[in-house]
Subunit: 263 residues, 2 copies
Amino acid sequence: MKGTHPLTPKETRILIRKGNWDKPTAGLAMGYAQANLVILPQKYAFDFLLFCQRNPKPCPLIEVLEPGQYRTKFLAMDADIRTDIPRYNIYRRGKLEGTVKEIKNLWESEFVSFLLGCSFSFEEALLRSRIPIRHLEENKNVPMYITNISCNPAGLFQGPMVVSMRPIPPDKITQAVQITSHYALVHGAPIHIGDPAKIGIRNLRKPDFGDPVSIKKGEIPVFWACGVTPQAVVMKAKPDLCLTHAPGHMFITDVLNEELANF
Amino acid sequence: MKGTHPLTPKETRILIRKGNWDKPTAGLAMGYAQANLVILPQKYAFDFLLFCQRNPKPCPLIEVLEPGQYRTKFLAMDADIRTDIPRYNIYRRGKLEGTVKEIKNLWESEFVSFLLGCSFSFEEALLRSRIPIRHLEENKNVPMYITNISCNPAGLFQGPMVVSMRPIPPDKITQAVQITSHYALVHGAPIHIGDPAKIGIRNLRKPDFGDPVSIKKGEIPVFWACGVTPQAVVMKAKPDLCLTHAPGHMFITDVLNEELANF
């Protein structure tokens, strides 16, 4: 449209900060990475950081703020993670207590914020190479499954790996592996290709999270480690308090997806 | 020689544990990764873990043990990091107090052990592709330089990045970049290629650590982030106590160099 142009990441964050965007962030600031947020009180921070270090595929840290800090330093220069996400979930002892539009009034000087990479970044790279992304084609959420693969535990934090699934035609699998291998900071290469039963998935039509998608004749299900894993693990550990983004309502960074690639 | 065969990593660690190997570990258990060790009291552990997360090229963590743990879980199953390294340095408030053959009597339940990847792994991969490693040819330590590149600080920990330098013929540089790119857990791709002055190095013949090596006509100095960086940063922070391996006296793992590659 004449005269319109997509908002920059900074403009998008200001829109969100002012409370003028209360929807999921998919499709905003295209080309820029979006991030998952987990905020925990300091007493849990070392164990959670260690959990991420031990499980980099499901938990790819892209920024960790020091205790009490709410301004990002690496992913964006002017951002406030207390206000710059459209919706936040509040969990107490593992239970969802509510969803809010900002967390300034909940902020404590001992909070540690963890930002994790999100598969939006590698999906953009797959699409650029004409690799189909079924859930986008069908306008659904990606299907996600709890596997029989245990994460490496750390302190309080333990649990199974959650994976996302994308059906890929056989002649595109090599390329899908090659492309996502370059995005270690957004879950990286697939953790499993083919037989779902091998990783404890009984029925692809019944995902544990997200929506089922159609699998065309000959397509192979390809599984990537999923950012729901750290959230599931944190909920299971039942910390006194945990704040996260609400699903799909991500933190928009100033970092290009391409800048997260590890060539 | 008839009847001799190289020791496995486990056999090598037992030799070291019994006090029967008091020399550097280069060349032992070829093909297996060796690791740097940093042990800090728990009060420093979150900040140091954060420092490594923020500076993955100089500080590639390959295992972090929980407070008080001295047995590795990922890099080796039967190892005791209090005894399985030939020599340890003891630093108090940043000053070297002594060098010992084991640290069992110094061990405290609040110690956190960090193991970091070592460039031995990528050097083996470079050699396999006939890329010359000058300091090995000249039987020297790799030359290392303090740069004008600041690490991303975290809590107490801050300081300049230290790099190692290897002169590479121009027609081999692409390959050297490609190969080391696959070893993110052992410093990864070069951080600088060419003009030393650009990164604050005045004289290649006067390294800050290690030995000068000859640079042949037409060769380009190629610089990689170096594992001396975290040690320099920790010393500068002057923690009450810090235990490390003595230079060149590394921890030998059961992990193949190839298993550290991020293909």
